[in-house]
Structure formats: structure tokens, C-alpha cells
Amino acid sequence: MAQVQEFVEQALQLSTVDGCVVVAEEHTETNLRWANNSLTTNGQMTSRAVTVVSVAGESAGVVTRSVSTPDELATLVKASEAAARDATPADDFAPLVEPYDTDDDWDADPATTSVDVFARFAPELGTAFKQAGKNGRLLFGFAEHQMSSTFVGSSTGLRRRFDQPNGRVELNGKSDDYTRSVWAGIHTRDFSDVALDAAIEQLNTRLDWAATSVELPAGRYETILPPGAVADLMIYAYWTASARDAEEGRNVFAGPNGTTRIGERLSTLPLTLRSDPADPRLACAPFEIVTASEGGLQSVFDNGAPVTATSWIDNGRLANLARTRSWATRTNAEPRLFIGNLMLDGKGSASLDDMVASTERGLLLTCLWYIREVDPQTLLLTGLTRDGVFLVEDGTVRGAVNNFRFNESPIDLLGRITEVGRTEYTLPREWNDYFTRTAMPPVRVPDFNMSTVSQAS
């Protein structure tokens, strides 16, 4: 057993209040960043965060420290207990999770990563820099690998641990005069599957497409959104999907006359939006890990509770909203805990290329960026197209179009999608600092609202 598990046990032994949950995370990460065909920064970092949730009556004290000695741990437990005793009752109070059978290997050392994970990738990147330089092109981007081992221990006797690897590569290619810009993103668990050559080839194809530029005005356009852009829109909808907010009448999922929209058909297509911690490529913690309660979506009292595959939208109908155990008790409903991956499937088989080939006239996007909420009532979001808007005519890409600012609601869009392609694993562009594990299809929207033109290239 490593030091971190001992810290969890020691903290629980030191606890003198009614209940205690310890969440300890050992985290290592390594990264490479580059610009203008040259590495700019890199690093490797190790960190540890121990969160002690002390429960006194129905009050909680939640304190997190980068503990490195037993004395610091004792100080942390005392601080957490003092906070619990001083606190008013928690609005999200629920009994701590009781132990249940798991296959977790509690005693194994924490998993780690290091710069060695780039042993194959880094030299390939160097080759790509040289090649890009010869072709009058510039590469920018970022590669990161993280490993988090999280240990949850409770005074109820519950013990759970999970090792979460998380890797991403973002590649941005430009012409050397900066007028053309394209992007590709890859999500990976361990970099063994990162095909840099293929990604660079995709960048080069798109930079070639951009040799012809087409100016188009603002307006509503038939638009093909690639999987990554769909992911960014769906992630925002997911973050908003609090059952409590809906039942209090204050999010887009609230209905008239005090109802919610659960059960409402959001799309006539068989769209299913779901999360599943057991998905092989997108595996995430099969139990709840929460170091601070979050506005009706997640509660520290739910730490360690099992999370299982959940459909949020089922065959076009809104099926579930995220519901903490506390709110579930208060509403006589089953808890639906927030899960760290998101998948949309519409039983489509067309690839992105197939959808381009079947387009008479429309826009093909690369990604969306700077997405922000404009109107919570409709979940109207604004943002920009970025790194490649392409005009498609008669099944062929004609050239690159100027960028646009869009104003659209993902919930409204679900009802207007006319074609859904094949679901694939994808990296969201906008939110991949926070949420990387997604699988989405490309979709066709007949009237995407490109509100104004952006001069950015």
C-alpha cells in the first residue's frame, strides 16, 4: 500500500465526528506545447489533493489540502471537523454511502504517467515540424497525458479506487501567412493509438481546400456539424441538466404548469444521449467522486455511490436529468448521478465524407469555439466557427468560407437535425480542458443560424 491509501485510513481513524469521507487523488501529468513548428513549453507535474468531508449532524465541512506528512493530515482532519461543527445544515445532506462489493484493487500503487509516454509521439512531431516547414505550413498545438488515481474511503467502511488516464492532442495547421487555419483533435487513453501521420494528412487536405476562399454573408445555412462540434453543444446541455433546477422551473428542461420536460419528444429522430462508465474507450469512474457540491448536479454526500449507464435522451425523448441522492429523496425519485462521459447515437451509418458527398449546397464546419450561454430559458448559446468553414456544392468542397458567429440552442437543434451520421469517438474543441470523453455523430442541420460574420481566420 502506498502513502496515499495510508493517508485515507489514517484520516478516517482520526475522525471524531458523525461521519467522514476522504477523497484522495494522486495526479501526474506531462505535456508538450508547440507553435510555429517549434516546441514552446513542456513539463511534468505531480500533485496530490486530499479532501476530507466531515459530517456533524446534517452539516458538512469540506477541506482539501496538498497533504505530504501525517501532521498535515491531522491538521486537515481537524480543520474539516471544525468547519462541519461550525456549519449550518447542508441543503444536499444525505446519509453516507454504505459499503458494497467491488473488484477494486485498493492496495495497488497509484498509477502514474511521465514524459516517456511521448517516446514515439515526440520524434514523430519533430519530423512533422520539418515537413511542415518545407511545405510552407506551420504547426501549433498541444499534447497532454494525465493519470489520476482517486481513492474514496468512508467511515461507513466503503473503499473505492479508480485510475483515470486521459490524453489529448490538438493540432492546428496554418499557411505561413496565417490566412488559412485548420484543426484536428484526438482523445487517447495512452498515446499508443495516436496516428499523428493521419491527422497531419487531414490537416494538409483541409489547408489545400482553403486555397480557394469564398465570402458568404450571415444567414441560415444548411450545415454539417462534425462529431467534435456536436460534442461541444451536447456537453453544455448535459452540464445544464439538473433535475432540481428543472423542477424548480429554472432551466431549459422546465415545462409549463410546474412540470418538467422529461418524457417530451425533443427529436423525431432516434437520438439517444447517454453516459456509460463501462464504455471501453471512454471508461470513467464507476462511482461518484465529488470534492465540492455543485449546484444541484453533484453532492459530496454521494461520494462512492455507484454510477451506472444512464440514458439522458432515449430515442428522441428526454428521459432523465441529473439527480443527487438528496434531491432524489426529496422528490421520491431514483438518483441519477452525473457521469464523466457522454455519447450521442442516432443509428446513422454515414461518415462525415458520405454526408459531404450527399450535400447539394451547404457548409461543413471544423469546430465551434468560445461557446457561452446567452439565454438560459431556451439554452441559447453563442460562439464562433473556427479553423475551417467549407462550402460544399454538389458533393464537393469548393473552398473555405469566412468564419461566423452563431446563435443556437442545442435543445432546439435536436428537433431540427435532418440527418445523423455514424457515431465515433471524438475530442470536443471548446470543452476539452474539462470534458474529453465523448462519442458523437456528425449531423446535418438545414438552417443553422450564422448570426454575423467574423473576420477572424
Binding site: 498545438g141 498541444f142 438560459p376 431556451t378
Partner: protein, 501 residues
């Protein structure tokens, strides 16, 4: 002024720095810096006056950054022993060796005097961590209950974030600094729900975050009691107000809204790392490219913008940056023309600026210092008009207060902002609230339409705690001051119509 926290001073910072910098010297670096940082963040959230979330989180660790054979290397860890510090120096040199193979230009730094044993503490009265949580919750609860008791307020969200930041920095040139900052961000949102219609409306307080302590919630710097007293009536009027007709309007913009427009369209656009492409794949580049320095017409002649890391209560204010550079104020836009950028020592040297203006900053020991934003502020006219005088000069316009939604493109051309409150201006007078307003423009068109800046009495320092930049992502707090302002002929959208309704 408060003292440096003894519990931070008790950490063996000099011993660790000597170990790390000594080992780095042995390994042949041309520069090494060491940071020991402790960032403590308090968070409270109340729903309808009841405690919904509480946390007290501290990050404590050390970092070594080196320039070895012309390449950067960086490593960070949490173990606070001399052995670990030496190991970090070795790791940093090892990563520099990887960098060197993949980088072109050797890194050199702009010169900077050394500041041995310098200390600096921000201007505040009471560290919120010294206030018992029960007292902090009680204050949030009291203000929440006042809102809940008012007609038309169905729900209240209250939150409070506060930060105590301690930084120790030492480098191989001989500078060592120990610094401490406090900042606070209280917010209250009143929500009206029409259950029958399935609609909801909200309005948030507009004071925003400040480089102050707990005194901020007791009336120093902002009067939350007065604002809470007004909020229900303002929300009720908002609920009943007509939807805006999209089109071109003159805008009188209050500093509580304009600070964010300054942040996005000037602050980020004048970061030299963006202009040089270092952020091209992520935060983006800038239309204000380096070749346009001293020629780009950024805005009208009344536009004067400074970068400043010294203003009292500024969120980006500090004595020395994370490269040991003493901070200062500097011009960015003078009489409408771009005259300066925000710099770090590497870029200052590479582009011939002589010295850096002190904008290198890391959000924690785990991250590399990036060029981060100073308090970028629009200067008032010393004899400028009041808000009423600005409004009196508008026939058909909108008066905007408080920030809400924001978005801008990756070269900082096209932006769209909403707000907390909008008033119709008719024939020089306010004529009731409007709803569903967003203003959208291209940066230089917008600042070119700036007709008047208000006087010093209209000046307010707004800001944000959560400015994001860089990969891996870093957050920074930054303030932006400005007077009330008048812009002519700005494109206004109706957000309901934008949603296709």
C-alpha cells in the same frame, strides 16, 4: 496593511530554493527560477438561503523552471524536501533537453535588476479565511433572505469565492520575493419563475470581484445592502419589460458592463504572446499584430488604455511578477492608437522592448508562467461628463449595466455581449427597461464609435476571477477600470429572435 502569513513564512522556502537553484547551476543552466506557492480557495454556495456547497481548498507545491542550452524546461511537485527540490531541478533540465531538439531559437531573457528579499502584500483589511464560516454563511443567508422575502423573487442563488495567495520566488540572478494577495467574489442572483408559462427570469448583483477582503461584504468598496434592496424591484420591471427591437442604437455603457468588453477586445488582443502566435492553437491570435504597433487605429481619439499591475484593489495587482520583474503601469492605447503590448522577459528581449512590463504569471506552482493580463483599463476624461450627461446626448439608445453573456472570436474581431439590465433611452432620458438585448460588433469599429468617456466620478473597477488561457489551462484574476461611456450606432440583436422564436 496586513502582515505576510506566518504559516507560509514557516515553510523552508529558502532552503528548498537553494537546493533547487544550486543543483540547476551544477547542471549548467543559464537561468533558473524556483517558486513555492500556496493558493487557498474558499467557496460557499447557498440556494434559497440554505448552504448548498462549501469547500476550503489549498494547493501547495514547488516548481523549478530552467533555461538550459537555450531551451526551457519545467518541473513541479509537492514534496517539500531539499532532495525533492534538487530532483525537480534535474527533471526540469531533462525536459529542457527534450525541448531543445524540437525548438529553433535559443531563449534569452530581458534584463531586470535584482530584488533580494523583497516583500509585498495586497491592500485589504480582513482575510476572509479569518472570518468563521458560520459568519460568512450568515451574511450570505441574511442577504438571500431579504431577496426571498420580496414579491416576485422565487429563488435566490448566492455564492462567495475568496482566495489567499502566497508566492515565494527566487532566481539564479539573486532576486527573491515573498508576496501575499487576497481577493473576493460575492454574487447574488434573484430568480422569478412563472410556473404556469414555464418561464424564468433572473438578475444578478453587479459589484463583481475585487482585490479586497471580507470588508467588501460589509460595505467597503461596494454597498451590497443597498443593491440587494433594489434588486427585487429591478427584477420585477425586467420581467414586465418589452423585448428590444433589433437594430442600430447609441449605447451608454456602465463600467459594470464595459469592463468585460475591455477585457475581451483590448486586454486579450494586446497580449504579445497571442500576437506572436504562441496561443494560436488555443486562446487564439490577435488582429493587433506586431507590425501594427504605433500605427493601428484602435479606436477614437478619446480612447486611452493602460496596463497596470499596481492599482490598489486590482485583481491582477502584485509587486513582482513570476519572473522577478517589478510591476508598473504602461500605455497600451494612446489617443486611439496602439502603442504597447503586455510582455514577459522572453518576448521583451526577442522584440527589443528592453525590459519586460511584468506580465508573466502562473496560477499555481504546477504551471509555467505565461504572459497574463495586467489590469487593462480605459482612462476617464478628467473633466468628462456624468452618466446623466452622457444619456442626455442620446436620442434613441440603450443604457446597459452589469455583465452577463460574453463571446469573442479567436482574433478578437467579432464580439457579442449581453448584460444584467437594459434601459431604453428616448430623447435624452431613460424610458424603462428592455429585455433580450445583445450588442455585437467588430472591435475596431466599436472602439472607433466611442464618442465620449465619462469623468472620474463615473469610474469603477470591475473584473473577473476566472480568466482562462494557455495549455494546460490556467486561470487568472484581473480587474478592468473604466468610466461610463457613449458609443454611437452599435448593432443590437434580439436574443429571442436569434433563438428562432
Amino acid at each position: 496593511m496586513p502582515d505576510l502569513d506566518p504559516s507560509f513564512l514557516a515553510l523552508p522556502m529558502r532552503e528548498l530554493a537553494d537546493a533547487a537553484l544550486g543543483r540547476a547551476r551544477e547542471l549548467g543552466v543559464t537561468h533558473a527560477d524556483f517558486r513555492l506557492e500556496r493558493i487557498r480557495v474558499g467557496w460557499l454556495q447557498l440556494r434559497d438561503g440554505k448552504l448548498d456547497s462549501t469547500s476550503d481548498s489549498e494547493d501547495l507545491g514547488l516548481a523549478v523552471r530552467v533555461i538550459h542550452e537555450g531551451a526551457w524546461g519545467f518541473a513541479a511537485d509537492i514534496a517539500r524536501t531539499p532532495e525533492a527540490a534538487r530532483r525537480l531541478a534535474e527533471q526540469a533540465v531533462a525536459t529542457a533537453k527534450i525541448s531543445r531538439v524540437l525548438s529553433d531559437d535559443p531563449v534569452t531573457l530581458a534584463p531586470e535588476p535584482t530584488y533580494p528579499d523583497a516583500t509585498w502584500v495586497s491592500s485589504y483589511e480582513i482575510d476572509p479565511f479569518e472570518v468563521p464560516e458560520s459568519e460568512r454563511v450568515a451574511r450570505l443567508s441574511e442577504l438571500s433572505e431579504r431577496l426571498l422575502a420580496a414579491d416576485g423573487v422565487d429563488h435566490v442563488d448566492a455564492s462567495l469565492m475568496h482566495v489567499l495567495e502566497n508566492k515565494f520566488y527566487a532566481d539564479t540572478a539573486g532576486t527573491s520575493t515573498t508576496q501575499q494577495r487576497v481577493r473576493i467574489n460575492p454574487n447574488f442572483t434573484a430568480v422569478h419563475v412563472d410556473r404556469g408559462e414555464g418561464k424564468f427570469y433572473s438578475m444578478r448583483t453587479i459589484g463583481g470581484p475585487a482585490g479586497r477582503g471580507w470588508e467588501y461584504l460589509r460595505g467597503t468598496g461596494w454597498d451590497f445592502d443597498a443593491e440587494i434592496a433594489e434588486l427585487p424591484e429591478l427584477l420585477a420591471e425586467h420581467v414586465k419589460s418589452p423585448s428590444v427591437t433589433a437594430g442600430s442604437y447609441d449605447l451608454v455603457i456602465h463600467p459594470t458592463n464595459l469592463w468585460l468588453t475591455i477585457h475581451e477586445s483590448i486586454g486579450h488582443a494586446t497580449e504579445l504572446d497571442r500576437a506572436l502566435g504562441y496561443e494560436a492553437a488555443y486562446a487564439g491570435t490577435s488582429f493587433a499584430t506586431f507590425d501594427k504597433l504605433n500605427t493601428l487605429k484602435y479606436g477614437s481619439g478619446v480612447m486611452n488604455v493602460t496596463g497596470d499591475r499596481t492599482v490598489e484593489h486590482g485583481l491582477a495587482t502584485i509587486g513582482y511578477d513570476d519572473e522577478g520583474v517589478q510591476t508598473k503601469a504602461f500605455d497600451i492605447v494612446r489617443a486611439g492608437t496602439l502603442v504597447g503590448y503586455q510582455l514577459n522577459r522572453h518576448m521583451a528581449q526577442a522584440k527589443g522592448f528592453g525590459r519586460s512590463n511584468g506580465c508573466a504569471f502562473a496560477d499555481s506552482s504546477g504551471h509555467i508562467p505565461l504572459q497574463r493580463m495586467a489590469n487593462v483599463s480605459l482612462q476617464p476624461d478628467p473633466s468628462g461628463p456624468s452618466v446623466d450627461e452622457l444619456i442626455s446626448g442620446v436620442q434613441r439608445g440603450i443604457y446597459i449595466l452589469g455583465d452577463r453573456s460574453w463571446s469573442i472570436d479567436m482574433q478578437r474581431y467579432n464580439f457579442q455581449f449581453t448584460g444584467q439590465r437594459f434601459y431604453r433611452i428616448e430623447n435624452g432620458r431613460l424610458a424603462g427597461q428592455l429585455r433580450d438585448v445583445a450588442y455585437q460588433a467588430t472591435t475596431t469599429d466599436f472602439w472607433g464609435s466611442l464618442e465620449a468617456v465619462g469623468g472620474p466620478a463615473t469610474y469603477h473597477l470591475g473584473g473577473a476571477m476566472n480568466c482562462g488561457k494557455g495549455q494546460p489551462g490556467q486561470v487568472a484574476a484581473v480587474s478592468h477600470g473604466c468610466p461610463a461611456t457613449l458609443f454611437r450606432g452599435v448593432n443590437v440583436l434580439n436574443t429571442v429572435a436569434e433563438g428562432g422564436r
